[in-house]
Symmetry: C2
Subunit: 360 residues, 2 copies
């Protein structure tokens, strides 16, 4: 148990500090310890009460529990933390991992789809996952019913990663306990939430961004319109990854999501060969180490930045770039002002690097 | 019965004169009568025996037979001959039509697919054809078993055109006699071959070019790899028309042709709305009258052109453009030399405006 991990955990588990804020604090102050020291002052300058910091004792308790479960923390920008995932704007600063960590070092594709998929689609997913595994690709999925389970089963012998929405020690759905246990032993399971966390509906989109972020491309097998699988596909596209979909008859409602994805530009997949062809360029592109975690240039904070930025913000999300442009202040000063507002509980962050003022 | 029609028919039915040669002769000599007069001389200058011209009596007999069948000739560049079809390099110079000729004046889409299509795919094709008809689109197909029949049935009440490979009075397959008769009455049937012609395998690709050529886009519903439907799709693409395909499960072999088309860039179709969206730009683009039938600039024929062109030609197909460039002669002179070689039975014409010297 290192002091740095304790500090990182305290910072991350403090209410109101999400992955983006965490990342900016580390970028600004260099270490989690320095960030923790700075948070109260920053919040005051943002015009709010300082947040109650997550206690050292709670952090140490969590770390002990993770160790006892045979799991490990992965820290963004360090060690085996997956490079591709680190490229996400809102990459999880810490992940809890249990299983074969070396799987994180192999090229991966994600496979997701309907929980209530047809037997034929599950059979197809299992076969495809198996074939991809034989080609050296790790298959990432979400340990859900249906397509997810089929993907893990097909890929188990060659390498598969399950990303779960709850804690590493929670089996959800319960009937997947044997499967998750098999992944602990032969594959790898990743969790963003602390041990003991029961998954809630709001956790699943966060889980989905990790699935998409780990992979050079995401394959959707049978998905209804407006399903979680399509969210994963959208997140993959937003992260610049390949989006692939398995087509089906227009007469089959479960094929509509995939068919629509293909109409929108996803690559139609009929088998492993199509997947390999699709992700090959991405694998080359992502092979070079890209570290988006370098500290931003520290800039002097204009005394007026908070009030200028506050004036520019409203209840509707606005792009940070636009705020910077309109403010006339330096990007560093605006980012710092946003950080201060954020820590004061007065800012909401949205997808696509947008921010809004939280209604009082 | 006009003299011009008799002359056109004599020219077109003369062995060795295909649509491209026919078109060039008319472009060069203005009328079929003048072209008929010129053919013997041209063939001699090309170094071959003059072809035996189709007799006036035979042409008149055919015309009388067509009239008796209640059918009509459509002449390229004239009257109701469809403009879109006339844009094909090898558009049929004459078509025999029986039914509602006004259907030729409406925007059309083609729908083709497997003869042994699944019941589900036939049901889908029938429904789609019906929906397209209600949106004012005429549905063109080939009066074959399977998807073709379903497309005609679905579109019958709103407008459908059947293009057949044999003569207008031949029912093929025989069980489609009632369907073809229904099209005579409520739709339209088109044939390129003279009455009485039994369709042979080699006729079908010619028939397919007419289906593709009549339509702003071609929809393929269930097609095996390397099937005739894919030839129609390729002809549509070569003519600059939209190619659309209905997807299916990769587990269904009958969906492989369509899925591959989509991978190759065809638009995935789930219903009539998708078709309308796909062909809307093409309809605007093709709405302006384009007449590719204007006579080419008559150019003096260089005495040496035949021998120069002959030297440049070999047994492998070469683009006419290249022959023109390499010859140093004017395009008109080269075209005339090619025409002479053609009429002398010494030239083969290939897709993509390529030509080769026929092996002796």
């Amino acid at each position: 148990m290192t002091d740095d991990l304790v500090d990182r955990l305290r910072l991350l588990r403090t209410a109101g500090i999400g992955p983006v804020t965490y990342r900016q604090l580390i970028a600004r102050f260099g270490t989690a310890a320095a960030a923790l020291d700075a948070v109260p002052d920053l919040a005051r300058r943002g015009g709010g009460k300082p947040p109650v910091l997550h206690s050292r004792a709670d952090a140490e308790r969590e770390i002990a529990r993770v160790e006892k479960l045979g799991a490990k923390y992965l820290t963004i920008g360090q060690g085996l933390y997956p490079r591709l995932l680190a490229q996400l704007e809102d990459a999880p600063p810490l992940l809890i991992a249990k299983g074969k960590l070396t799987l994180l070092d192999q090229p991966a594709v994600a496979m997701v789809g309907a929980r209530n998929a047809s037997a034929a689609a599950c059979r197809f997913a299992r076969g495809l996952a198996h074939d991809l595994g034989r080609q050296g690709l790790v298959v990432v999925s979400g340990l859900a019913r249906g397509i997810d389970s089929a993907a893990h089963d097909g890929a188990l012998e060659n390498g598969t990663i399950g990303v779960i929405a709850g804690g590493i020690d929670i089996f959800y759905p319960p009937e997947n306990e044997a499967r998750q246990t098999a992944l602990f032993q032969q594959g790898l399971v990743l969790a963003e939430m602390p041990p003991g966390t029961e998954p809630r509906a709001r956790h699943f989109p966060y889980r989905n961004r990790i699935i998409a972020g780990l992979a050079t491309g995401t394959i959707v097998v049978e998905a209804a319109p407006r399903s979680g699988s399509l969210i994963t596909a959208r997140l993959a596209a937003e992260a610049g990854r390949e989006v692939m979909a398995v087509p089906g008859s227009p007469l089959d409602p479960r094929a509509q999501g995939c068919n629509q994805l293909i109409r929108d530009g996803a690559t139609l997949i009929q088998g492993a060969e199509d997947v390999l062809e699709s992700v090959a360029p991405a694998q080359t592109r992502f092979a070079s180490p890209v570290d988006r975690f370098e500290p931003a240039t520290a800039q002097a904070n204009s005394e007026d930045a908070v009030s200028i930025v506050e004036e520019l913000l409203g209840p509707s999300p606005a792009p940070v770039d636009e705020i910077i442009r309109l403010s006339g202040a330096s990007p560093g000063a605006v980012q710092m002002a946003l950080l201060e507002l954020d820590l004061a509980g007065r800012l909401d962050r949205h997808a696509g690097n947008k921010v809004s003022l939280r209604p009082a």
